[in-house]
Each structure stands twice: as structure tokens, then as C-alpha cells.
């Protein structure tokens, strides 16, 4: 299963953190820092997998990450997940964000944390992959937005 999903920028500032197992807030922050240190020192053309840091379970867990422009997308998973599969999932996640936000950039993630969480919730639930079909995800997100809009207008009316 997926243990945690972290997004942070090149300077290690967290942009999204979702843990599917409970940690104390302090530990969560430490995990983000540790993961950043592990991931950021790696060159561009090395592989996308590495063993997890000590805080998140050491060699039983793998960090699978992708680096897009200013952001790192890191998934921490156990041995029951396919490495390449998760790599694809990150790609789907980013492409979905891109479609939802039109050319997604770091700012979108900052100002719409809730939306990003909602999109992620359409893909991953309780640490398990829920949906991988981009169109399906976008349909659901659209439906959410429609509902949101209708409520907003009904309040105004």
C-alpha cells in the first residue's frame, strides 16, 4: 500500500502531504525533511527508486519519486506495489492536475490545496489506488465543481 504522498519544492517546502498511516505532527514534519534530503541530493538521470529513510520504515519501504520543474512528487510505498506502476500513477496525477488547472504550476498547488487533496482523493483512498483512468477522475472532479457552483449560486439567489 501507499504509506504517504508528499509534494515539496526544490527548497524542501512542503506543498502537499498526505499520510495514510498515523504519525505525530512532529514526526510527519521530520519525515518530510528527511525525504527531501534523501531525494534532493540525487542527480537527474539516476533511477526513480530508493529505499525509504529511517523514519518511514527503512529498507522495507521504497520511495518512488518524480521531479517536475520545481516540484518533487514522492510516494512512499511498501513492497506490495509495483514500482513502475506507481511511477505511472504519479504521471497520471500530474497530468490530471494539469488538466484541472490548465498548465499546473506550483502556485496552483499553494492556492488550491483543498482541490489538490480532492483530486488525490479520487485517485488514492486509504493508501490504495482507487482510480487510474484520467477521464474518470476528471469527470468526478467536474461533478464536484458543478455541485459547488450550484450551491454558491443558490446562496447568492
Amino acid at each position: 500500500m501507499i504509506k504517504a504522498i508528499l509534494i515539496f519544492n526544490n527548497h524542501g517546502k512542503p506543498r502537499l502531504s498526505k499520510f495514510y498511516e498515523h504519525y505525530t505532527e512532529d514526526t510527519e514534519q521530520q519525515i518530510i525533511r528527511e525525504t527531501f534530503h534523501l531525494v534532493s541530493k540525487r542527480d537527474e538521470n539516476v533511477c526513480n527508486f530508493l529505499e525509504g529513510g529511517m523514519l518511514i520504515g527503512g529498507s522495507d519501504y521504497k520511495l518512488i519519486y518524480r521531479h517536475y520543474a520545481t516540484l518533487y512528487f514522492v510516494f512512499c510505498v511498501d513492497s506490495s506495489e509495483s514500482e513502475l506502476g506507481i511511477l505511472d500513477l504519479i504521471q497520471v496525477f500530474v497530468e490530471t492536475l494539469d488538466k484541472c488547472f490548465e498548465n499546473v504550476c506550483e502556485l496552483d498547488l499553494i492556492f488550491h490545496v483543498d482541490k489538490v487533496h480532492n483530486i488525490l482523493a479520487e485517485m488514492v483512498m486509504g493508501g490504495m489506488v482507487l482510480e487510474t483512468n484520467m477521464n474518470e477522475i476528471i469527470t468526478q472532479v467536474d461533478a464536484q465543481n458543478k455541485m459547488e457552483k450550484s450551491e454558491v449560486t443558490s446562496v447568492l439567489a
Binding site: V46, G85, I110, H112, T132, N133, M147
Partner: protein, 917 residues
Amino acid sequence: MPAVSKGDGMRGLAVFISDIRNCKSKEAEVKRINKELANIRSKFKGDKALDGYSKKKYVCKLLFIFLLGHDIDFGHMEAVNLLSSNKYTEKQIGYLFISVLVNSNSDLIRLINNGIKNDLASRNPTFMNLALHCIAFASEIPRILVAGDTMDSVKQSAALCLLRLNRTSPDLVPMGEWTARVVHLLNDQHLGVVTAATSLITTLAQKSPDDFKTSISLAVARLSRIVTSASIDLQDYTYYFVAAPWLSVKLLRLLQCYPPPEDAALRSRLTECLETILNKAQEPPKSKKVQHSNAKNAVLFEAISLIIHHDSEPTLLVRACNQLGQFLQHRETNLRYLALESMCTLASSEFSHEAVKTHIETVINALKTERDVSVRQRAVDLLYAMCDRSNAKQIVAEMLSYLETADYSIREEIVLKVAILAEKYAVDYTWYVDTILNLIRIAGDYVSEEVWYRVIQIVINRDDVQGYAAKTVFEALQAPACHENLVKVGGYILGEFGNLIAGDSRSSPLVQFNLLHSKFHLCSVPTRALLLSAYIKFINLFPEVKATIQEVLRSDSQLRNADVELQQRAVEYLRLSCIASTDILATVLEEMPPFPERESSILAKLKRKKGPGNLPDIDDARRNVNGNTEHSEKTETTNKVTLVRTASAYLLNLNSTPTAGASLLVDVFSDSSTLASVEVSDENFPRFVCKNNGVIFENQLLQIGLKSEYRQNLGRMYVFYGNKTSTQFLSFSSSVTCNDTLKNHILSTSSVDPIIEGGAQVQQILNIECVSDFTDAPVLNVQFRYGGTLQNIAVKLPVMLNKFFQPTEMTSQDFFQRWKQLGAPQQEVQKIFKAKHPMDTEVTKAKILGFGVALLDRVDPNPENFVGAGVIHSKNTQVGCLLRLEPNTQAQMYRLTLRTSRDSVSQRLCDLLSEQF
């Protein structure tokens, strides 16, 4: 249209975030956040009731602040309020806050549960979905999952919700009638539902495989439809020209929970699928995009792990290996990494081990040239897994040379691996000694205690290498700077075997001593203690340096050392060397006895380090065939005594070692007050191998008779003591002692009257349990006074391994199938011996039956031969045994063959039975 329009939503939130981003310093940021927190707090506490929108806004702000790493200790209540709102947007934010911030131990969980319950009960699918995402309630969910009218997306969520529940608290969701219907979700129209259901079933199947066996055929069918389909009918689940890669991966994972399907048609269909996947890898890519190859390879790797898991189709295994071989040289680092990892598991399959070995050059090259430490680490693992006797020297040499430049994080592991391989595959132990000394030289800091303990164990146990070891450590110690571990090994080995090189004037006793002592002041306390022990050993080995060493021991820095251990050793050794005669010294300081063979402590350490699952098991049967049987790792884990004691206690061998036989006798008399030597009577012992009743001991005074019965691993023995005289026996007592290696346990012994009248007989009952297989028999000690003299009798009780046999009937076909399965050389014990009694078929039959096995008629093609089968029951295990007895009447010889799954059992049974004919 963008799905999320910028601009609308909460302005206050956007302003706040911009503010924070504009902060120039950390301090300014903290200040701004504190201000906002104060603001929110006052708003929440204020008298004015907040409308949903502001609550939502503030909770969002809190969420953002939390992300930045600040503690949030309020706002939970507001979030719970939002949760129970009827508006979707508010509800959504409420759920979001709760799932990010609240853990399951919070006091609020009751309130939250309430909200979730309400949502689950509602007919609104969106609300239901939100609630399922947040996850809490059990008994409802299976119903939602399998109900016909539930929407697809709700089903999907429900499946995963159930999965999550099953992980966190399995007792919440009772298995029931729904399980059977879950399996049928694999046939669902909607691929999203199938994916979610597959995850659920995989987890459930791991827990109770039998309940979900039906999923195999459905999964294979589904997989075959995906793999062979022309990718049109898969709705939108085609990802960069690959048909439903996620689902394929999940299905292949599910199949890894089970052995290969037994049904031939199903099996061939699965094989066909796997072949198709392997074939597709050879086709030219349909897209240049990296996503295409990624998705394709994700499925491919999963297929390969399934092939490895099944480990039954040699052709597929070899194809998989070749495919991985291609990947080893792929330009994608990710693929090289995964190929190395998969090959590691492939190396342990006997079909593909040889095929894996052909890639050794590539792997070594990867170790040398790969830029990524993760990949290099995998290369080390693979080299370790593919190592066998034929390539051990090359692999160990490569690992040693890599060690000099290896990353610090993985050095210790490489050291352990080198040490294990060097020991395991050493033909020539001088090579082993060289390797370990090299290891200490290159990476001394990473050489743990276990490694150097082990080298000493091996040197002590093998005479042929002792001289060489002494010479080599002596040379290694010449280096101006050497690692402390080398000093330890050097001190120990020279202390034991320094005499072997003392003939050479360049390594005369004095030179050896001075060399060791030159390192003394640089070492830590434990090493110094070891060196002191080495010195006293020198006094015994070389009387000519006695004065020099006494001088050293007498110096204030030793006799008055601040460390109490060093001081004590110095004082004791000095006194010992002064007062003891040469003979006593020679006895006390005798060469160390060989160490009992036990599991290599290094291997135990590596297992601890890696966790049991992650270490490729290189000690399976295949390896044992060509591996070093002397170091078979099958020793009981309880024997894993780490050798900490070797350094101090063992080195000074003050207690002379008791011989094995003596300890038995000592045990016999441990309870008795007399020290008269009494032989343990065992002359009647062999007679009881094939029967349970009879007289085990008789002299002029006493007769001891036995009657015993056994069932599975338990037994009961009635012992009858008959007084043959006309006077009474006084203070009669009896006890049973077991040698402590004896693992069958006498559970209880009933008490006996201390007086036996003349001519009378008394009975005693022993309850016996067989804990694990054993060789020695317990001893019955009897003591009584007859006419004023104390009588001591010790009798070996006929409790033998074969007593715990349960006969097994089987057909000829079954017999030979099992016979073949037990084909490993160490499982079979054979003995050819001369007949001691007339060769009578009926008598032989009776004996074999009495031995405890079932006699199988018409199994052996030769009717003269006898074939039997049975199972030995012990508390820990059951050991199946097959035996075959071939008489040769002309030569008056027998050939007895025993095959069992445990070598010690085969040997013991063969010894017992061969004495009977």
C-alpha cells in the same frame, strides 16, 4: 474548460496565502501566522455564530498553516460542524480537515463517527463517497459493496474502504456471505470497480487463501481478456497504448497469492497470457513516450515475478531471465534497477540459477560503473545471490575491490556478505583466511565482532589452516598501522598457534611477543584483555619468554591498572605463571578445543539486519548439495550463542573440558550420595527396538520389567520392580535422568513406595513426550538398601525415536513419488550389513511391523524386498519416513535404505533397525 476555475472560492484564504508568500523572512512568516491564528481563534470563540462560508474559510486557513508545519490545536470542533452541514462544499472541507489532521485516537472521533454514519445512511452517492473516504463503519459496507443498485464509483470506494478496515481492525468486518459475491466483482463491467476489488481480494486472500480460491480462474480469465484484447473495448483504461496496465499488475499480484493453478486448461491459459506479455516486450514500441514503455514494463515485471513465484515452468523462467538480462544493459536506470532486483529472486530458483550466472560480467560491470548507489546496492545483492562454488573467488574479489570505494552506508552489509561467501564456498581455507584479513585491512571499522569471532572459530576447528593463519596474521601485523580488529585476531591466533611459526628466526617467540606488545598501548580495554590472555598462553608455548612476559605483567601499568578487568587478569596470570608447574600450565593453557558447529553468527546478523524476508535464502536444498555441509545452517536457532564468551572465558581454558561420556555418568549420579561406579546397563536395550514389553534388567536381587504404549508423540511406560529376595528393600527410590541434549521429555514419574517387601512387585508409571528427534535414551536410576548395603542400578530405558511412529499405508505410486521427493543425498542413509540371525521372511516382517512402520505389499517390483512407511510424531514436527530392506540370501547380507526429510532421523533409524537382523 479548466475543471478548477481560479479566482472564485475564498478570497480571504487567497489573501492570507499571498501574505505568507510575500514574507521575506522566517520570522515574518511566523508572525503573520500567529496573527492569523489569533484572529481565527477569536472568530471561533466569538459570540456571533459564523456562517458556513466563514467556517469553511477559516478551516482552510488552518489546513494551510498545518501544511507549513505548525501545530494546530483547535478548529476540530468547527470542522466537525462542517461535516454535518448539508452543503456539499462545506461537508467536503470538513472531511478534508478531519482526514488530514485528526487521528483515530482523538476524543472527537465519536462526533465524527456520527456524521459519517448519517452520510452513509443517506441516499446521496456523493455524500456516501465522502463518508467512505473518511472511513469508519463496518457492518454496512459489505452490503453497499455487493448491492445491485449501488453506483460504480461508490462500489469502488466501498471496496477500498473495506480493505482499509480489514488492515486496521480485521475483527470489525466479519467474513460472511458477501465474500463469495466480492469475488464476482472481478467480472464487473466497470474496470475501476475491478481494480478496486482486486486490491481487496488480494489482501483478503493473503489472510484466508481457501475462501477466495475461486478468484484464480476469474482473475486468469480477466487477465487473458485484457492481454489478448485489441484494446478497444477497454473504455478509457488504455494508458499510452497499454491495455489497463494497473489492473493487469493487480491481477498478477493476486495470482501470486496462490500456487500455479491445478486445472490444466486454466494453467495453459495463464501460461499463454504470460507468454503473450513476454512476447509483447519484444515488439517495437507503439509510442516513443517514456510512459508507454513504463506501463508496458510494469506489467512485464509483474508477470516475471509471477513466473518466479510459480517456479514451475523452466522455459518461462529462462525466458524471463533472458528478458531481465536485456534490461540489465538498458539505458533506463529504472529498468536496470528493477532487473537486478528481480534477478535476485530468480537466482534462487534451481531452473534459472545457471541462466542467471551467465550475466555475471554485466553485473560486475554495473557494480563498477553505475552512478547510482541504489543500483549498485542491488548489484551487490544479486552477486551475493548468484554466488556458488564455481564463481565464488571472482565474486568475492570483485566485492572486496568495490568495498574500497563503496558508500559508507552499505559497507557493513558488504563486509558481512563477503565474510559469508568466503566461508561458505571456501575450498581452500588459506583463501578464506586471506579474504577475511583483507576485509579487516580494507574496512576494519565495518567488521563487526561476529566476523572476527567466526574466523577464529574456523581456524581453531581446522588444523590444516592453523600454521598458515599464524604466518599470515604475523605478516599482517607488521604493517605500521593496523586495525584493532586485526590485533584481536592476531593476538588470539598467535596465542594459540604461535608455536607453529616459531621455528623461523624472523618470527621467533620474542619477535612475536614484541610485535603484539607494540600494539598493546594503542588498543581499547577489551583488546588489551585479550592480549593479556595471549601473553599467558605464550608463557606456556614458549618458556624462554616467560621472564619477559612476567616483567610486563608485573609493571605498574598492568598490576595497578585502573580497569578492574585488566588488573585482575594481570594479577591472576602473574601468579599462575609463578606458582604453577609446567605440567599444570600445559593443562590449564591447553589449546582451545574445537568449537561445536553452529549457525554462522554472521549469517544470523545479516538476517537480523535485512529482516527475514529480504535475504535471498541461499541455504536451500540446492545449495546444500554443493555447499559446505560442515556449516549447514540448520542448527536450531536456540543454539545461537553469540561468541562473546570466546574472547575472554574460552581463551583461558581453566576448566578442563569434560568428555562426552563422563557427563552422562555424572548425570546419573548427580542425585545419589554414593560415588560407587556403576555401569549403565544396556545389554537388553536393543531387544526393545521392535517390541514394547519385556524384562529390561535382572540380577540376583531385582528384576525390572517394562510394558509400554505409544500414541503419536506421547507415550506411557509401566515399570515393574520385582524383589527376587525374601527380605525387604529399604529406602527404595528411582529417578530418570535425561542427558541434556536429549530432547524427549519424561513428563512425570509416579512415586514409588520406599519399601518393597520380599517377593513383591511394585509398579511405577512414566509419561513421555517426544519433543523433537533425538538419539540418546534416558537412564533409569534405582537405589535401595539391601541388607545394609546401598545398591545402585542404572538402566538405559528403551525410549527410542521409532517408538513415535505412526504407520502409513500408501499405494505404490504414492510411495515412489515420495521416495523421489526425498532424493537429496543427506536425506538418505544406507547401510549394508551381514545377517546376524537366520534370514526368515516372517520374522523379518514381524520386526519391521514392530519397528512401527506399515509394511507395504506389492510396492517393490522385487517381491523379496520389504518396503515400509510411517510418520514420526514429535511435539514440534512430523517427519515422514520411507524404508526399504533388500535381503540377499546367497550372501547372507542385507541392504537397508532409509529416506526421511531430516538427515538426523534417517541416520538414527538406520542405526536402530540395522542391529535387528
